[in-house]
Amino acid sequence: MTLTRTLPMDPWLVANADSVLAGARQGDAAALEKLFRAFESPVYTLARRICRTAEDAEDVLQETFFEVCRSIPRYRGDGSLWGWIRSIAASKALMRLRRNRYRDTDELDDAVMPSRREDAALRMDLEAALERLSETGRAVVWLHDVEGYTHEEIATMMGKTVSFSKSQLARAHVRLRRWLGEEVGT
């Protein structure tokens, strides 16, 4: 059983992955809690980077593990467990974005925010710049650049086209570059 390809994991859980998974499939509360403890931080991180508020990210974390508890008997183990849990988390986070219909703010921000050349003190750190991106742009950046999803996968999850995903990523990087003070020639 592959638990994860990229996450640092509790060595005990790695050594006991098969028995934990078998217990979780049978609804054993202790086994399900072990899975929750192992993956709550990566799921919350993904949710928090995509959603606007900590409350939304907490809701996504709960909904993700509620779904994991319900669906784990169907998990066949043909990919990494983290890959499976992550696809549920990403789907829930994107669903939350659609439900809340957040206003995409970066166009407005571009209009009202002084340019970097006017005030170098307004340069942001990466986290603040990421936060300032539109909901869609931030989600695409995170899913593509950090979680490693392809544009095809992102397009499927968002119900959009591949070129939509590509153009959102490009727009977001142009903004990040500007807000981080990384534009060429300065």
């Binding site: 509360a29 399900l32 809690e33 929750f36 403890r37 709550e40 931080s41 990566p42 919350y44 991180t45 928090r48 980077r49 900590a54 990210a57 907490e58 974390l61 709960q62 593990f65 509620f66 779904e67 508890c69 319900r70 669906s71 169907r74 499976w84 696809s87 549920i88 789907s91 990466l126 986290e127 990421l130 950046v141 995170w142 650049d145 950090v146 392809t150 095809e152 996968e153 499927t156 999850m157 590509k166 153009s167 990523l169 490009a170 727009r171 990087h173 142009v174 990040l176 570059r177 981080l180 990384e182 060429v184």
Partner: protein
Amino acid sequence: MSDATSHLGNHLTMESLLALREPGVEPGDLAARRHIEACRACRAELERLHQRAARLKALPALRPSRDLWPAVRARQQSDRRRHWQTRWTGAAGFLAAASVALALFWGDVAHPDAASAAAEIAAARQRSEVLESALDRFNPEARVIDGRTARVSQVLEDRIAELDQQLQETELQQARQLEDRRMETQQQMLDLWRERVGLLNALVDVHVTRASNVGL
């Protein structure tokens, strides 16, 4: 045109730079690959792009401010109790009705080829949209319904939500698969879509037929 897509001077656009980072033997187009070899400014821009992605990956992991496991566990237990209760209140009859509707609607379609499977999936998607529109127009959430109808609806809606999750996973799986395994996955998707249409039919029956019977 934004500088995400337009050429600034003779330099590569952000989309072209990003394409060069995509996995593959020869990422990006040939012209972009030739340009990057000759242009120091674009190489520097590509390097900044690599560094930005690396810094994004290095952002700290986050944790929720409170322990959410008790809430997940409580919801899971409550869901399990609800399913046991509904099992004894006639939901099974409606699910059986959904299966019958499904069989009548689809007839005997054992192993369609790739083209007809794709056509059937498209038809099922369309049928799903029609049924969902009918439900939206009826707006069941704004109506008073009896407890039995509410429980049956809940069972059907829960199963539809599970199917949607499965469909999404199967679509992702299919996108990653080689051609020779896609047919098998497509058949799974077709089965899921058929079940979804059957359940939506049952859900429409539960709400719309009942409402017309009692004159709501």
